[in-house]
Symmetry: C2
């Protein structure tokens, strides 16, 4: 267990926290690029409240709106240009994971003379990991990706159909200003996909980490147990502020590094899902709901004792009269049942994806995180045939 951990983001969490935005931002800059996604935050009045708070604190605001789900590198370039043209000295992300990820890379791209796509790993010889970025402030409006308090971003290229990532210390937000009231209006389906995203961040490390991390196991199990319990409530009643706050908190701790510290996680399920959503514009969390259980059934055979622990500690299933694999498979069934109960798809056919491009997805999934044989990293590593097999089992 040799590892490093670092996360300097200041977290401000609480219902009503949006009202502090101007005051918080003014500590870090004077001219803000505010990055947004679709129009929902304008219809809800959140955008106007944010801008009012900024102006009251003397912060000048430029805007980059219209960041798409599965954000494109073209949007990153557009935002970086606005930041430069307007002389912005910080970037505010006001939106979901796509908006936050795009804003992070804009903040680095604004200080980078080359092509921002150089900074996204896509199999290039010289991956330019950014070392400088404008200060970033995240204000999430969705509990899902955990991007609010980490240094990662996932960006897609529409031309090459590649969806990939960057992680760099300069992308840690200075402040994550997290107001669970902003998630009250998220519709049921997106709420459910967010819950699935949260849980999958944790299961990636739980199932694909090193052995001998019993404290991290308990942290991971705590996040999953509560994401299930409170996720169910948030989906059932979107106006339940306590449920929204618990799910939002789960989103943060699921991917701010606390659960993963020392785990040496690799995320094969995310890599496979990214390959899918690069070609089909499905919501990331919905894609994960389909791929994760299929992957779990594959991986349980290689590490049955781990899946047995999952079944026992998450779903309280009893081991009597079963071997580890049977118990583990029961746990996976229980997880699928939960996903279906909150309205997630668990089959590719439900989102209109067939087997036509399986070989392409398998190739794309292993583009960056592969071993010396080209196999996708994970426990166990996956050949292209393994990936196709998992996809086929999810048809």
């Amino acid at each position: 267990m040799n590892f490093e951990f670092f996360n300097p983001t200041q977290l401000i969490f609480g219902a009503g926290a949006l009202s502090q935005l101007g005051e918080v931002v003014a500590r870090h800059g004077k001219r803000a690029l505010i990055v947004t996604g679709g129009g929902s935050i304008k219809r809800s009045g959140v955008f106007d409240r944010a801008v009012a708070s900024l102006r009251a604190a003397g912060v000048v605001v430029a805007e980059c709106s219209g960041v798409e789900p599965n954000p494109r590198i073209a949007s990153v370039k557009r935002g970086a240009k606005i930041a430069r043209d307007e002389g912005c000295d910080l970037v505010i992300a006001l939106g979901g994971g796509s908006t936050m990820d795009a804003a992070k890379v804009m903040a680095a791209a604004a200080l980078y003379d080359g092509d921002p796509w150089d900074m996204i790993g896509h199999g290039q010889d010289n991956w330019v990991i950014p070392t400088r970025a404008l200060p970033i402030i995240t204000v999430p409006t969705l509990a899902a990706t955990g991007s609010e308090m980490n240094c990662g971003a996932v960006i897609s290229d529409d031309d090459s159909k590649v969806k990939s990532f960057v992680q760099a210390n300069c992308l840690f937000p200075k402040v994550a200003l997290v107001d669970p009231e902003l998630t009250l209006s998220v519709p049921k389906d997106q709420t459910a996909y967010g819950v699935c995203d949260i849980i999958t961040h944790v299961t990636e490390g739980y199932f694909n980490g090193v052995d001998g991390t019993p404290i991290q196991d308990r942290f991971a199990e705590g996040v999953i147990i509560n994401a299930i319990e409170w996720g169910r409530k948030a989906v059932a009643d979107g106006s339940d502020l306590e449920a929204r706050a618990q799910v939002q908190w789960a989103s943060i701790v699921a991917l701010n590094g606390w659960v993963q510290a020392g785990v040496n996680m690799v995320p094969p399920v995310h890599m496979i899902e990214h390959a899918l959503s690069a070609h089909h514009d499905i919501t990331h969390g919905a894609g994960l709901a389909i791929i994760n259980p299929a992957w779990m059934r594959f991986a349980a055979k290689a590490r049955p004792e781990r899946f047995a622990q999952f079944a026992q500690r998450i779903f309280g299933l009893t081991p009597e009269g079963k071997d580890d694999l049977a118990l583990g498979m029961e746990g996976i069934d229980a997880y699928v049942e939960f996903l279906r109960s909150i309205g997630c798809p668990t089959r590719l056919s439900e989102v209109g994806i067939g087997d036509g491009l399986f070989d392409q997805y398998a190739k794309d999934a292993a583009l960056v995180l592969h071993d010396e044989n080209g196999n996708l990293l994970g426990r166990p590593p996956m050949t292209k045939e393994d990936i196709v097999g998992v996809l086929r089992s999810a048809l």
Copy 2:
């Protein structure tokens, strides 16, 4: 659940990490004050290895040795003077909690013209919270206080017999360089007291925090369960490196803020213990082993459902046929049994403390953290009579 969280310390964790000390320190300064406690790190060769690593990296070393257990403000002043006289630009703490706490306050005192005791809360009208300090690097040689990755320090004044604390963002170490090999030589009794300290950091928040923190509950329970399991192993076989590493990791996460985020913890048990160890030079962890169970029996009456949860989730006790208080009391009995099994005292008489100064301890305990009626903060708040009652029950 409105709260803030911030911890910018870089953690480098792993067996053998000491060899990186020079390289790590050289990123933050050129002239180091290295602060140490007793002579054990010199006898073990750890000190020489640290200095060799520093010199190889071109770092000039000045030394402040002899920081005592329950470190005194006089030692802080002595170290700050050495730092100034030698033109040090950073401070390295190489030792246990006392050494780390003293080093932190030295780092602030080196840049403060007034009396460093101004910075330690002791009921003064104008508590000077430091805003500047030399960069601090912690290298713990004991798993106990968690001081390696937080911004707190506890310092005693020998003249007034006050033991109190400071917390300030400038006291976050730049780096916590944590090498569990350095704890292999810690004797059985100090290992056990450290485990008790770790657990008590977590129980303070668990029992004295706000309601509605189910994810933090699971984190806290995870730390306690593992501190018990691995603590037992580390006490049984001090050369068990895996046990040492797990206990060291528990020490870090027990008080780096992760478990406490959003909990709004207050630490009445620590306040009572500090009052004791200001007058009697007992090891902090041993004092906690005595006070915590006595306090728990008092507090369980006010919040029986919480103690019932502790009994069930930590010790697997079953609720059938018992009310919450009875179940909670069984959990406390199980905890006392664990403490005794690893060799901790659980009675004041075992460390030679009688009832002669009970009123004084009660007064001192509420010196800083009290409500408007002067009662010690906690769940429930404690009158002086309550504190004396808890102490009397621990005789």
